[in-house]
């Protein structure tokens, strides 16, 4: 895990979450902006997955439990897909709010992943 990338990811996920919740409460249906924000969050998670696979091979070992880390990472990867699917099926503003909820949940999970990698057991 790369510290600055993780920090960036938490900030982006929080921003995307707040954006989607504001859009949803402003009665906007899921659209290019909200779905795009979620897509960016998902993209960063995929990048994080690649980093997590490569890092231990180049000597960047997690201080905590790797399985626990992956439970978070894989759950986080699934959430935007589930939320996005829901947003396509249920076309109303609450789906936009839910997309925001997905992003905020991911922000918390990435933060926890950072703790597992850098702090736990160290």
């Amino acid at each position: 895990m790369i510290e600055w990338f993780t920090t960036l990811q938490v900030i982006v996920a929080c921003a995307a979450g707040v954006l989607c919740i504001v859009l949803g409460l402003a009665k906007r249906l899921p659209g290019d902006v909200s779905m795009g924000a979620v897509a960016v969050v998902e993209l960063l998670l995929v990048a994080q997955l690649v980093i997590a696979i490569v890092a231990p091979l180049v000597g960047n070992e997690p201080s905590g439990s790797l399985p626990e880390f992956y439970i978070y990472l894989i759950s986080a990867l699934i959430l935007p897909l589930a939320g996005g699917f829901w947003a396509l099926v249920e076309r109303n503003r609450w789906s936009t709010v839910i997309l925001g909820g997905v992003c905020l949940a991911i922000a918390v999970m990435v933060y926890r992943m950072g703790q597992i990698w850098f702090v736990q057991g160290a």
């Binding site: 399985p67 439970i71 959430l79 249920e90 609450w94 918390v108 736990q120």
Partner: protein, 156 residues
């Protein structure tokens, strides 16, 4: 049957309409969080705090059932939702209090809600931003104001 197609604001006809969907979503995420964590804890270190981790797993199952019960329609599921959500409220209050004042009863080594023994209900769900404490209250309020109207919904 047409109530289903009308979707958002039909009130009692379908419990998870409008803002209720957000409630269901948060329940889903918490179910996922509790399941992931308890499965990992049980596989990795069950012997360290068997009572706490078993409770964790029970909590996870209850969250999953509650999520389904909120989505599903009909009088029976409504009752299931009542029971599971009440169970959650009792659980978070009892386990939360025990983890604070008598952690030894649960076999916990510390009361750190972020520590390695932590469960969803430890310290009233502090490790989960107190969502486990707020959610059953919101859930019960939601159920109270969205009783299934006996005729079209239950008869189905």
């Amino acid at each position: 049957m047409s109530a289903r197609e009308h979707g958002t604001e039909t009130g009692g006809a379908r419990r998870m309409s409008g803002a209720g969907r957000v409630l269901v979503f948060v329940y889903g995420v918490l179910a996922l969080a509790a399941t992931g964590r308890s499965v990992f804890q049980i596989i990795d270190r069950f012997h360290e705090a068997p009572i706490a981790f078993s409770l964790s797993a029970v909590a996870a199952v209850v969250y999953i059932v509650a999520t389904i019960a909120l989505v599903a329609r009909g009088v029976v599921w409504f009752r299931v939702a009542w029971i599971t959500i009440t169970f959650e409220l009792v659980g978070v209050l009892v386990v939360g209090s025990l983890s604070l004042f008598a952690p030894a009863v649960l076999g916990l080594h510390d009361i750190d809600p972020f520590g390695r023994d932590a469960t969803v209900w430890s310290v009233f769900g502090m490790g989960y931003l107190f969502i486990p404490l707020a959610l059953p209250v919101l859930g019960l309020l939601w159920l109270r104001s969205h009783r299934p109207s006996a005729a079209p919904d239950g008869a189905r």
